[in-house]
Amino acid sequence: MKKQLLKEIIEKKEKKIEFSIITNLENGESCVFEKGKSINKNFEEHKEKIISQFDKKKNGIIEGTNIFVETYIRPIKVIIVGAVHIAQYLVNFAKSLNFEISIIDPRGYFASKQRFPDIKIVNKWPMEAFNEIKTDQNTALIALTHDPKIDDPALQHALKNKFFYIGALGSKKTHTNRCARLEESGFNDEQINKIFGPIGIKLGGRSAPEIALSIIAQLVSEVYKK
C-alpha cells in the first residue's frame, strides 16, 4: 500500500464517506473506490463485480478474481442529550466502538469543550439542535438529563423520526411519569414502548462508568437486532 493511499483512506474516514479499499492480491496494487466515481483503470475490468461487492457492504475476495475488497460504511450516529457525568464515560465507550457522537445540552457549564474534548457539542435546546444534526432511522438517542424540559422534546423528535434506539435515564417512577407526558402529547403505547426506560441492561452497578457500560451494551445489542 502506498503512503499516499493511506492518507486518502484516513481523510475519507474522517469525512465519513462510504468507500472501499480494493487490492489486487496478485500484484499488490491497491486504490480506493467510491460509488458514482470513476474507477482506477487497473481495476476497470472488474468494475461491475466491485460495485456489487460494495453494495453488499461485505469484505472479501471477489469470487473468481484476485481482488480483495474492504468496505467502510458510515458510522452509526449516537446523540447524547445531557452532558452529564455518565456521558463522559459513554463517549469513551462509544469512541472505541466507532459510533459518531454528538452531545446536546443547552446548559453551557455542562457541555464544555474542556469536559468533552474532540466531541461535537451542540449548546442548544434539543429542537434547535436537531436543525443542525441530521438524523434518520439509523440514529440512536440517549437521553440523560432526566429533566423533562430537555429530554422530552428530544424523545419526541426521536419517536417521530423512528430512531433505531431510544433510551432515557431515570427511575421506574420517572419513566412512568415520562410515559404519561408523552401520551398527553399524542404518542400511542406502541411508540412509547419503543423507549428503553430505565435505560440500560441490568448490571447492578450504580457508578457513572457502570451505568455507561450498561447503556452502551444495550445499544450494541440493539444494533444487531435490526
Partner: protein, 109 residues
C-alpha cells in the same frame, strides 16, 4: 444493521509512518470454518517487531510478526500466507479453534 467497526489500525499506521518507522500491514482476506477474527481484521508490524491490532485471537500473531520482519528484510512488497487447522501443537503455529485463515501482508511505503 451493521456497525462500522473500525479498529483504527490504519490511523495508527499513519502515526507509525510519521515517526519514520517501517510498517507492514497484515489483513485477514479469507477465512474458513471457525476463525477468531473476521475478514478485514488488521494488524500492523514495525521493523522492531512491535505490533498492534490482531488477525487471530493470539494464535498466529507471533508467526505473522516473523513473516513481516522477513518481508522487510527481503524488501518484498507483499506476500500471502495461510494458516490451517492445528493439531495439539497449538503453541507452535496454527489455530486451536480449528479454523483456517489467509492473511495478506504488504509494506506501506
Amino acid at each position: 444493521m451493521k456497525n462500522s467497526f473500525d479498529e483504527k489500525i490504519l490511523d495508527e499506521a499513519k502515526d507509525w509512518l510519521a515517526a519514520k518507522q517501517n510498517v507492514v500491514l497484515a489483513t485477514v482476506i479469507q477465512t474458513w470454518g471457525s476463525s477468531p477474527r473476521p475478514v478485514g481484521s488488521r494488524m500492523i508490524i514495525n521493523g522492531k517487531g512491535d505490533f498492534s491490532g490482531s488477525v487471530s485471537g493470539g494464535c498466529v500473531e507471533t508467526t505473522v510478526v516473523r513473516e513481516c520482519l522477513g518481508l522487510l528484510k527481503e524488501k518484498k512488497p507483499f506476500k500471502k500466507i495461510e494458516f490451517k487447522v492445528s493439531n495439539e501443537s497449538a503453541w507452535e503455529v496454527g489455530l486451536a479453534c480449528g479454523g483456517e485463515i489467509a492473511i495478506f501482508l504488504e509494506q506501506i511505503n
